[in-house]
Symmetry: C2
Subunit: 281 residues, 2 copies
């Protein structure tokens, strides 16, 4: 099968590597606004050929859209305009209601699968791509009833090759859950980095003292705004709900400390410890 990857970055590049390795991709076109990323992707054998949008789409059985969610939402209707009923498009974006809504009434809506692989790192670009990135991770398909059966089967095969397990839900549920499971983590991590950078002017001390705990909570703060501003924009209402809840949870810690209510502080921590059982099921 011929595959076109639009956006040969961390996600698109990692998918390309694995799909070629598994033999499901015979030939991979790369489409990207960045000449640098295209050259790197060619050098790294992530793609076989660079293509412009029309040419890349024309020749592909499957088109994978792996660009920031605002750009994906704008581009998807144009891609659907260009494809035939034998071609399939899937995206890889972290928000789903917006993109599903954008093509709701498109005559070729059924050729699109709204997909979200639950994996990412704080790095970007094809040089960060790793073929086994998705192994064991969840892949979410949203609003599957709006997609054609053969397109769904194709994406199932892709997810299988990526060694992911599939979960199905509505785009709306997806956006609520990811606000909790992924988007808020990024905001707390950004805010934590800014807290430290604001007050700890002595960079050398941060560097010398930074413990593994700090590095892990602040890891996501390295993620780029080009990807994350559009996610927060598209999932604004859910993210705000969770952010308000998070601030009120932090205020409980603040109040327990201020009042020296250490019994309550212990209860807050014991409650948080329950996450261990859930994450390690």
């Amino acid at each position: 099968m011929k595959i076109s990857i639009i956006g040969v970055g961390l996600i698109g590049g990692s998918m390309a590597l694995k799909l070629r390795e598994k033999g499901i991709a015979d030939f991979i076109y790369g489409i990207d606004n960045s000449d640098k990323h295209l050259s790197e992707a060619l050098d790294l054998h992530i793609i076989d050929e660079r293509a412009d949008l029309e040419e890349g789409i024309k020749n592909a059985d499957l088109i994978i859209l792996a660009i920031p969610v605002d750009a994906a939402r704008k581009l998807l209707p144009k891609i659907l305009d260009l494809i035939s009923e034998n071609q399939t498009v899937m995206d890889a974006g972290s928000t789903k209601a917006g993109i599903v809504h954008a093509v709701q009434n498109h005559p070729k809506r059924s050729r699109f699968i709204a997909f979200h692989p639950m994996w990412g790192t704080e790095n970007n670009g094809p040089a960060s791509a790793v073929s086994d990135s998705f192994t064991g991770k969840a892949g979410v398909i949203c609003n599957k009833e709006e997609s054609a059966e053969d397109a769904l089967q194709l994406v199932k095969k892709v997810a299988e090759s990526l060694e992911m397990h599939l979960i199905y839900m509505s785009a709306e549920s997806h956006d609520v859950h990811t606000a909790y499971i992924s988007h808020i983590s990024h905001i707390t991590s950004y805010a934590l980095a800014n807290t430290v950078l604001e007050k700890e002017r002595e960079e050398e001390t941060i560097f010398q003292l930074a413990s593994s705990g700090f590095s892990s909570t602040v890891r996501l703060a390295k993620s780029h705004p080009e990807m994350w501003v559009p996610i927060f924009k598209q999932n604004k209402e859910n993210v705000l709900d969770v952010l308000n809840e998070h601030i009120s949870q932090l205020r409980k810690f603040k109040s327990a400390l201020e009042k020296e209510n250490f019994e309550y502080l212990g209860e807050l921590i014991s409650n948080a410890n329950k996450i261990r059982g859930i994450l390690e099921k």
Copy 2:
């Protein structure tokens, strides 16, 4: 050299393993309130013999205090009462001003080294101990001018054996820095876990969707209250300062989102990205 480890948990146990491996410890006594931990530590060859406090102290050249910071603060004066001028005591606690203050006027103050190894995990107990835990990490010695030169040299040798690099600062500076670099990370992580647990009643969904990003920001939320309540208690003022700053940083994200000021949101994220350069020096 004979070493007594008071508190054969994650930190005390990991130190014991490495110090024996490096040949600096010939014989290790284990002292602990928990019979279970002592038996485990014996089974795992972390300690050679269990001892009660008086006996363990009497026979040791070096006494390592690796128990929660409130208990350490209470116990240290009693240990100093019991030792001779040829013995050395070091602690491993995450707060320093309290313990240093507790022995400020003790006649044997100079036999104590206030030490903090900048390493830990969310796990506890001797079964979690790993010999290479401290390699490449910072070890902080506080108020070194209050300690005897031979005691300092001994702890330097211990830090070398643990493969740590030493940093010196006052107990007060230490407690400010660790509020930023370590303590606040734990509060944000606990609060994040509570945020998700409060709203995401569907545990199965958290488990299925949880991405690597979520797992890393929430990892510290597994840390036990027995260790962390005393730390927050002893470092209350600094932690409250940082927590207030952190809440105000989160409010900036909230306000940017509410006002749909996505340019400002991008600036907040770009600023947070600077942590990359500092952590990867």
